[in-house]
């Protein structure tokens, strides 16, 4: 079981939660179980081909999964996945 931190823009899709728990042996499986539990997040996380959208950054603990093994990166019990969408608010 990993913890997934939900950014503000995705919270309406998970019932307002800031963190959710999700099962999976790798990043792709954890995000997939998140999307299964909260279907509104699927279109925001994944493209039509099932690949992670390029505008969504995912970190395993503090490291970008793009420099690890991407969606195949192994997730261990107690790990935290951080979903980071770009934000531009300034005013």
């Amino acid at each position: 079981m990993a913890t997934v931190r939900i950014p503000p823009v995705l919270r309406p899709s998970v019932g307002g939660e800031r963190e959710v728990s999700a099962d999976g042996a790798n990043v792709g499986e954890v995000l997939d179980s998140l999307a299964s539990a909260h279907p509104d997040t699927r279109g925001q996380l994944f493209g039509e081909g099932g690949e992670l959208n390029r505008y969504v950054n995912v970190y395993l603990n503090d490291e970008d999964v793009r420099v690890l093994d991407g969606l195949d990166t192994t997730v261990s019990e107690g790990d935290t996945l951080v979903i980071l969408p770009a934000m531009a608010g300034g005013s």
């Binding site: 970190y59 970008d64 969408p85 770009a86 005013s91």
Partner: protein, 392 residues
């Protein structure tokens, strides 16, 4: 009891003295040359490369300039008496093993015609205004001079820009450029603390300039009442040492990134939404750029603005001041800047999270040598508005 003169003679007999002609080859040669005079004497002129430790602070501060007790240390004052007393203290009380006092002090050095450094100095009023900076070694006189010489461009005089401009002005940043095409609105005042109720309806650059000048007349404000776009960005940002990004839309963030990478100007960037903020420093070629972090902007439904979604009024204050802190660190060269790291702040949870940001070796912008970019390419940008609209 001995007279003062007899006491000093006694002290000098117990320490080593060295003639200025023997100190001359030691300048900038790895030997700690320490000026033990008062601050006003030091700033009027000193030996090249000399460290300043007033005699009154000798015991407290000597380790900052000469941490190794076996290293060679040459002390000087105006005529050689105070430095002899200081040398005696270092040897007898602190256990320094290789300390000498320069005979005749700065006066004899100067009479011999050897090189001196006359540092630029602060006016008495500036010395008072910035006294709390002068007291911290990480800023000090040198750092304060750097701040006074610095040119910082503040993009936006809104939620983030308000605290940034106020605190950078207070810190004595010499030139503060402010870009904003908006006018002050009542709904801004919940967070945009540089503006006032009386200023509603006036251009934000004018309102911000008035507040900055009230706070610190040392600051030269350069106003740009315009929106940054592809046609004006190179002209506006060129010549600034640091850019502070508080803009509220993706097209401008990408445009700014590309232009700042081309010109090699670091950008201290923050974004806010609701109760959360993000902060990072993009230093071209020393670390990742904005495109390395976010290769493409999100579609519009995932990129709400504060105007549409609201923001806790205090949050831009918190994030803006973290930005201002990074700006001051970049200018003074102190500390470890937030390069290659992204700080997330969650105000409701009172937590911070730090993520690593890597350079993308295939980044379409910062993986290229700006020197290799042809003149035709320089200053030419794709139409970002259309690009972002297409992405959404």
């Amino acid at each position: 009891m001995p007279s003062g003169a007899e006491f000093i003679r006694q002290i000098k007999s117990e320490i080593d003295e060295v003639d200025p002609s023997d100190v001359k080859p030691l300048v900038n040669n790895g030997v700690a040359i320490v000026d033990v005079r008062e601050t006003d004497e030091f700033v009027a002129g000193h030996l090249p490369g000399a460290k300043h430790v007033p005699r009154a602070y000798l015991e407290q501060r000597i380790e900052g300039v000469a941490p190794d007790r076996s290293q060679r240390v040459v002390l000087y004052c105006a005529s050689g008496n105070r430095s002899a007393l200081a040398a005696h203290t270092l040897i007898k009380d602190l256990g320094y093993e290789n300390v000498q006092s320069m005979t005749g002090g700065y006066t004899l050095w100067k009479d011999r015609g050897y090189d001196v450094v006359v540092p630029r100095s602060l006016s008495p009023e500036q010395r008072e205004r910035y006294s709390r900076h002068l007291l911290v070694p990480e800023v000090g006189l040198e750092g304060q001079m750097k701040l006074l010489d610095a040119k910082v461009l503040c993009l936006g005089a809104g939620g983030l820009g308000s605290p940034i401009a106020l605190y950078l002005a207070a810190a004595g940043v010499g030139t503060l450029g402010i870009v904003d095409d908006d006018v002050v609105d009542l709904s801004n005042l919940q967070r945009q603390v540089i503006h006032t109720t009386a200023g509603i309806g006036t251009p934000k650059v004018d309102s911000a300039e008035a507040a900055v000048k009230d706070l610190n007349p040392d600051v030269n404000v350069v106003k740009y009442q315009t929106r940054l776009d592809a046609s004006n960005i190179m002209e506006i940002i060129e010549g600034y040492d640091v850019i502070v990004d508080g803009v509220d839309n993706f097209p401008t963030r990408y445009l700014l990134n590309d232009a700042s990478v081309r010109l090699g100007i670091p950008v201290v960037s923050a974004a806010i939404l609701g109760f959360e903020g993000q902060l990072s420093v993009f230093a071209p070629h020393d670390g990742p750029c904005y495109r390395c972090l976010f290769p493409v902007p999100p579609p519009a439904e995932l990129a709400p603005s504060c105007g549409a979604n609201g923001v806790l009024g205090v949050l831009p204050g918190t994030m803006g001041l973290l930005q201002a802190t990074e700006v001051i660190k970049l200018i003074t060269g102190s500390g470890t800047p937030l390069i290659g790291r992204l700080l997330m702040y969650d105000a409701l949870d009172a937590t911070t999270t730090e993520l690593k940001v890597r350079r993308d070796p295939e980044c379409p912008i910062c993986s290229r040598d700006p020197e290799d970019i042809s003149d035709d390419e320089m200053g030419v940008f794709p139409d970002y508005e259309a690009f972002c609209a297409a992405a959404g």
